[in-house]
């Protein structure tokens, strides 16, 4: 197919070069993650640093009003802080939009349909959009926070406050408060209009009623001021009605004031209580996804409850997701972290995903359909997420495998096998039951041979498990190695070997401490 060659100009080539540069794209993505993604674990530290700079510099400016500050402090408050704010400002300006992507899109479109690229229009549009960033409220505050440090502007003391306004962006609790206000914009604006209307009506009525009879009301502004102070239930008392009509107007204004204040309070309280739950859940989610490894338990039914009674003693790095609000309330009541959300939705699991963490999803709901869906969903978020799913029947085993479940728990089968064992192989049943129920005498444990371990390089005979009253079953090298049962006595232990042993809880503890063995998971 004949292709119409359009040779891009220098500027277009430059943007196309940027669009194709892996390094540039990675750098920009990393920067965006760090500055704009609230889930990024390092963003919080950047916020802390900026908050520190804001608070300390403002404190210095305030101190400076009456006292002389040392030069180095002045230098810090003016140049260093402003310099850092300026860098942040430039970064935000740079990250606001991607000119290169728009140019690339236009280039690809034009090549595809064989038309001439309208690059000038696209570049101007994108540059215009970038410049528009300067006029966004956030950018204006940021800009004023930078320039407020300069002596000439600092004379106008109010400018220092702009620096404080910058806190809105970095201190999350203030940010959340503003979000609540913006969520209830409609109600609050309605209320504000009503307030203005009543203040005006009240003020004008008062002016007409007492304008020439009350010594304290000299003009309409005084009347409006009185109306406002009364309606907000502040009531300074500097102006008060002196005539009967004026007093009647007061009655009405006071009642309306109480009504409006209650209305505003109820709007804000309900918005806050809604938001508070959301915020709490968000914090829990963030907190949990900061761990190097954690569990997401889907469904808080019988099995999850019993599981957590044990597991909560070992670790607190887990979170429960359940669609049913009652079960979530029950989980919270039982002292667990739980969120009412649907784990079969991509966004729900995705918000926990953190490529540096080892995540295990336990699909323990009572429904196979849900569990399979959750398994698939977890694998869709990332193949690295380990999934342990509960299945009701062996017939569904293959379905779970296809859905990507790494381990499948069949409670009925396990119970059946244990029941059979208790009839046919009673001794084995007793042993396994004791091990599974964490009886002190029968603790099955794994020992990871790390570099610092004292047993490294020793043969099994030299380690002498028997003298610690420990039963040594076998070992495997690395988590994916093959398990060797009862290796020969002269087998020399090497790094990354995982030994499976059985012993009394105390014997194992002692054995581990003597040989410098830590836990490995």
């Amino acid at each position: 197919m004949a292709k119409k060659e359009t040779k891009p100009g220098f500027i277009v080539s430059f943007f196309l070069y940027l669009a194709n540069s892996k390094k540039y794209n990675n750098f920009k993505n990393e920067a965006r993650e760090l500055l704009h993604n609230p889930l990024n674990r390092y963003k919080r530290y950047i916020d802390y640093i900026l908050i520190f700079l804001i608070v300390t510099s403002v404190a210095i400016f305030i101190y400076e009003v009456d006292y002389k500050v040392p030069d180095w402090l002045e230098f810090y408050a003016v140049y260093i802080t402003s310099g850092i704010f300026a860098i942040e400002y430039l970064f935000n300006f740079w990250l606001y939009n991607d000119i290169r992507k728009e140019v690339e899109r236009e280039y690809n479109d034009s090549v595809l349909v064989g038309r001439k690229g309208k690059f000038a229009k696209v570049i101007f549009g994108a540059v215009f959009k970038k410049i528009s960033y300067i006029f966004t409220p956030v950018a204006i505050i940021d800009f004023l926070a930078i320039v407020s440090a300069y002596k000439t502007l600092r004379v106008l003391k109010i400018f220092v406050m702009f620096r404080f306004l910058k806190l809105l962006k970095h201190a999350r609790s203030i940010h959340n408060f503003l979000e609540v206000l913006s969520d209830r914009k409609f109600e609050l604006i309605t209320l504000l209009i009503l307030l203005i209307f009543v203040v005006f009506v009240g003020g004008i009525s008062m002016y007409i009623a007492e304008g020439n009879k009350n010594d304290n009301i000299n003009d309409l502004f005084d009347a409006l001021y009185w109306s406002f102070i009364t309606i907000t239930t502040v009531g300074y008392g500097d102006i008060s009605p002196v005539t009967t009509p004026g007093k009647i107007i007061s009655f009405v204004i006071i009642i309306l004031g109480i009504v409006m204040i209650s209305f505003a309070t109820s709007v804000l309280v309900s918005a806050f209580s809604e938001k508070l739950n959301e915020l709490k859940e968000e914090r829990i989610a963030e907190h949990i996804s900061e761990n190097n490894s954690f569990l997401i338990i889907c469904g808080y039914g019988q099995i999850a409850r019993i599981f957590l009674q044990q597991y909560a003693k070992i670790s607190n790095k887990y979170i429960i997701l359940d669609v049913d609000k009652n079960r979530v309330a029950q989980a919270i009541n039982d002292g667990h972290n739980a969120i009412a959300d649907d784990p079969s939705r991509f966004v729900v699991l995705n918000r926990f995903y953190n490529k540096n963490s080892k995540i295990t999803v336990l699909a323990l709901t009572g429904s196979d359909v849900e569990n399979i869906y959750i398994s698939l969903n977890a694998k869709a978020v990332s193949k690295d997420i380990e999934v342990i799913a509960r299945a009701s029947s062996h017939k569904l085993y293959n379905k779970y495998m296809r859905a990507g479940a790494d381990r499948i728990i069949l409670p009925n089968e396990i119970a059946s096998s244990m029941m059979v064992a208790s009839i046919v192989r009673p001794v084995m049943y007793k042993a396994i039951n004791a091990i599974l129920n964490y009886k002190d005498v029968a603790n099955m444990s794994e020992i990871f041979v790390s570099r610092n371990c004292k047993i490294i390089g020793k043969s099994i005979e030299e380690v002498g498990f028997a003298q610690y009253k420990i039963v040594f079953f076998g070992l495997q090298n690395g988590i994916n190695g093959e398990f060797k049962f009862c290796p020969k006595k002269d087998y020399v232990l090497k790094e990354n070997d995982i030994l499976v042993i059985l012993g009394h809880k105390m014997s194992i503890k002692y054995f581990k401490s003597i040989n410098n063995i830590g836990s490995y998971i």
Partner: protein, 237 residues
């Protein structure tokens, strides 16, 4: 010598079905299923299971079932309340039979024990423990699970030490189990009603005739050990 065990599984629903089938797969068992619902009866018939019907509220119908003194009774009805009622009735009718019941909560497990059940298998408790094991000890849990679901060839074996065995008079520490590729894990204490005692607490005692030791290993290695040490596979295995 191997005894055939008579087992009656009560219920053929969610739990009973899988339990009955697991027990039937064992070669030394003789299984009968008893059900109290027509639907379960039909399913059992279709599965060609030896099935009988009973009425939970009629003791006579339970007495009609062919239950001997040694018959093991498994209560596995889907309904918790019915299962408890059944266990209570069976204990009343059959004083000395071994009764095993399933439970899905610790509260029910306690009630079943109060009703006279000899062994309670708590479905969710076991599963929850299995999950913890998988998370905390992946390698050990796989090994342990292998005994239950037979995904590996290692088995537990109880070995009776006979008179004249070369092991008699030897201390446990003197016996080289490793040479046979087997692991010694404990002994059966006959003085205390056949209690299993883990090697993890036992002292280095001397082995006498009539003792029963418990080892883990591959079937063929265990047989080799048993023959060479002059023992015999425990009679109730």
């Amino acid at each position: 010598m191997i005894y055939l065990k008579d087992v009656v599984v009560f219920g053929y629903g969610k739990f009973g079905n899988s339990i009955a089938n697991s027990v039937m797969r064992e070669k030394n068992t003789n299984v009968m299923v008893a059900v109290n619902s027509d639907a379960e009866y039909e399913v059992a018939k279709m599965d060609r299971v030896n099935v009988a019907k009973f009425n939970l509220e009629s003791d006579a119908s339970l007495e009609e079932l062919d239950i001997l003194e040694e018959t093991i009774l498994l209560c596995a009805l889907d309904n918790n309340h019915e299962n408890l009622f059944l266990a209570l009735t069976l204990r009343g009718l059959y004083k000395s039979n071994y009764i095993i019941a399933i439970s899905d909560s610790s509260h029910l497990a306690d009630k079943l024990r109060m009703a006279g059940v000899n062994r309670v298998i708590d479905i969710y408790n076991i599963s929850a423990n299995v999950i913890i094991n998988i998370l905390e000890q992946p390698v050990a849990s796989r090994f342990l699970q292998g005994f239950i679901n037979k995904s590996h060839d290692y088995v537990f074996k109880e070995i009776d030490i006979l008179k004249g065995s070369p092991l008699c008079g030897k201390k446990l520490s003197e016996i080289d189990f490793n040479r046979y590729g087997i692991v010694f894990i404990g002994m059966i204490n006959k003085d205390e009603g056949n209690q299993f005692v883990f090697a993890t607490v036992g002292t280095d005692r001397v082995i006498n005739e009539q003792d029963t030791i418990v080892c883990v290993g591959k079937e063929k290695d265990l047989i080799r050990f048993t023959t060479e040490c002059g023992g015999v596979e425990c009679s109730y295995q």
